[in-house]
């Protein structure tokens, strides 16, 4: 078996593999740059919580459609995700609770509801599919949804890029020159939620945030400017999707965890070989000691 057949053959042979690849590439192009900002805003765990919080919405959409239907699950997830973002923001402004505390409470409540809904009216297989995704069910409408979300995200990101970036590292300056920092924060959270929704099908609700943050974390090691970080993250996301899909095909395991593990492997390798990484530091220390 040549490298070509190993790397390309499954996508030539099977329509579902092709659709999965197209969906994953579109997802990587949009979700990884969002992830770069999420990482820089130190909101990785917030994104993680948000991805769990959208579960009941996704579950209701799933039950209405009777199967994994990205548009319906997406709308459900979006509504619940935004409700929780707004609610926890409001709670933190009106009480002494910090935003992360109220957020954690809401997302756990929401996650519990989601699992309950699926276990009451769906099967265990359904629950697994919602949590971990299934590439077999990607159809034309799912592709259009992911493509649509990617398009909206990239255009949206281009439009609010400057205020978003400034709000990220110098919020005081933005508030003085612009006065509307909060609006951009909210728009950004909206983009985070729609991108998590886009990741449901290939990655599942549990893993969607992984595609957002892991390639971005790796990219942060290798870049000195934000555009470079976003580009590297997107490329890493695409490569992990491709390799991950192949591995899940050959080893016959769920696609979501495999893609995420591929991205994690790249992160670990980067940690080891990066100039400021673990291996280099050890070597330096050894030299200094010797």
């Amino acid at each position: 078996m040549t490298a070509y057949t190993w790397l390309v053959e499954p996508f030539v042979q099977y329509g579902f593999m092709r659709r999965a690849l197209v969906a994953s590439v579109a997802l990587a192009v949009s979700t990884c740059p969002i992830g770069a900002l999420l990482v820089l805003r130190r909101m990785t765990l917030m994104g993680h919580a948000l991805s769990h919080a959208v579960l009941p919405g996704a579950a209701i959409g799933f039950l209405i459609a009777g199967s994994l239907s990205l548009p319906l699950m997406g709308i459900g997830g979006l509504v619940v995700g935004l409700a929780i973002v707004l609610l926890s923001g409001w709670i933190s402004q009106t009480t002494t609770l910090k935003e992360d505390t109220s957020f954690a409470t809401f997302y756990l409540t929401s996650l519990a509801f989601g699992v309950l809904i699926v276990s009451l009216w769906g099967s265990n297989i359904d629950l697994l599919h919602i949590l971990f995704g299934t590439i077999l069910a990607i159809n034309a409408s799912a592709l259009y949804t992911v493509g649509g979300i990617a398009t909206v995200t990239l255009v949206g990101l281009a439009l609010i890029y400057r205020p978003l970036v400034v709000e990220c590292f110098d919020p005081g300056f933005l508030r003085v020159v612009n006065g509307r920092g909060g609006t951009y924060h909210l728009l950004f959270l909206l983009l985070v939620v729609v991108n998590l929704v886009a990741g449901f099908q290939t990655l599942g609700t549990l893993m969607a945030v992984g595609m957002m943050t892991i390639p971005a974390a790796t990219a942060q090691l290798w870049s000195r400017t934000l555009p470079a970080m976003m580009t590297i993250a997107a490329v890493l996301g695409m490569v992990s999707s491709w390799i991950g899909l192949l591995l899940s095909y050959y080893v016959n395991v769920a696609s979501g965890p495999t893609i995420i593990l591929t991205a994690s492997a790249m992160f670990c390798v980067s940690l080891l070989v990066h100039p400021a990484g673990i291996a280099t530091r050890r070597r330096h220390r050894a030299t200094a000691a010797g």
Partner: protein, 250 residues
């Protein structure tokens, strides 16, 4: 044109019911250098945030006499900025053109050359392409001053501009403040070094949650006033065991 840049009348700010500023009144004169001084927790930064509009007032009024928020150049405390953010020095300085470009418009060539000129004024020519993460504290403060130079605002608010900055940078940046003064701009700065204030700033607002003294720096920072400011701060600490936490955003 009035002689007063901004009038504060009975300005009161409270965090979660705990007052941080009480009934502060003063008229900050236009085109002069004004310092805000006082012990820790006196409400100095809170007052600057109230001036920029970032902090909502619990009582009182602030009258800018026709000036707009966009006429204010604001230097946040260094700690409020994420210095590890992957951004180049040129990007950072170009943000000073916000008044012309806003959130969406492109940066004109003329503005870009203004940024380069500002960088050379603060002694950082050729630093354009460096990431802000590699700069020393002093160099980073020079970059922030370059951004203010590009902004060219009629009113400039500086929150602890010289904290943890090397002496040479302080000297250079003070020269820029004097240049602003010569250009007729109004500068208000939160400062800790009383000798520095006496040497360079016309007026001082000595705060200890309330106004201890407002007037000429030499008088405001008299030994008597300093002692009063300290005593008020000590009384306060005895009254409330609970510290007033700064509001954090996630």
């Amino acid at each position: 044109m009035s002689e007063t840049a901004v009038t504060l009348h009975q300005v009161t700010v409270a965090y979660d019911g705990q007052p941080a500023l009480e009934r502060v009144s003063c008229e900050i004169p236009r085109g002069q250098l004004t310092a805000i001084a006082g012990p820790n927790g006196a409400g100095k930064s809170t007052l600057l945030k109230a001036l920029t509009g970032e902090q909502r007032l619990s009582g009182g009024t602030i009258d800018w006499h026709g000036l707009d928020r966009r006429d204010i150049g604001y230097l946040p405390q260094a700690a409020a900025i994420d210095r590890q953010f992957p951004l180049t020095v040129a990007d950072m300085v170009s943000l000073g053109t916000w008044r012309e470009t806003g959130a969406f418009r492109g940066i004109a060539t003329a503005s870009a050359s203004r940024a380069a000129e500002a960088l050379s004024t603060v002694g950082l020519s050729g630093f354009e392409r460096r990431p802000i993460g590699v700069l020393s504290a002093g160099q980073f403060q020079r970059v922030l001053f370059a951004r203010l130079l590009v902004q060219a605002a009629p009113v400039i608010l500086l929150d602890e501009p010289f904290t943890a900055i090397d002496a040479r940078t302080v000297r250079d940046l003070l020269a820029i403040i004097h240049r602003w003064h010569a250009e007729g701009r109004t500068v208000v700065a939160v400062l800790h070094d009383f000798d520095q204030i006496r040497a360079h700033f016309d007026n001082t607002l000595l705060l200890s949650r309330q106004v201890v003294h407002w007037g000429r720096s030499r008088i405001a920072l008299s030994a008597d006033n300093q002692r009063r400011a300290r005593e008020w701060a000590e009384d306060r600490d005895e009254d409330s065991i609970v510290d007033i936490p700064a509001r954090q955003t996630v």
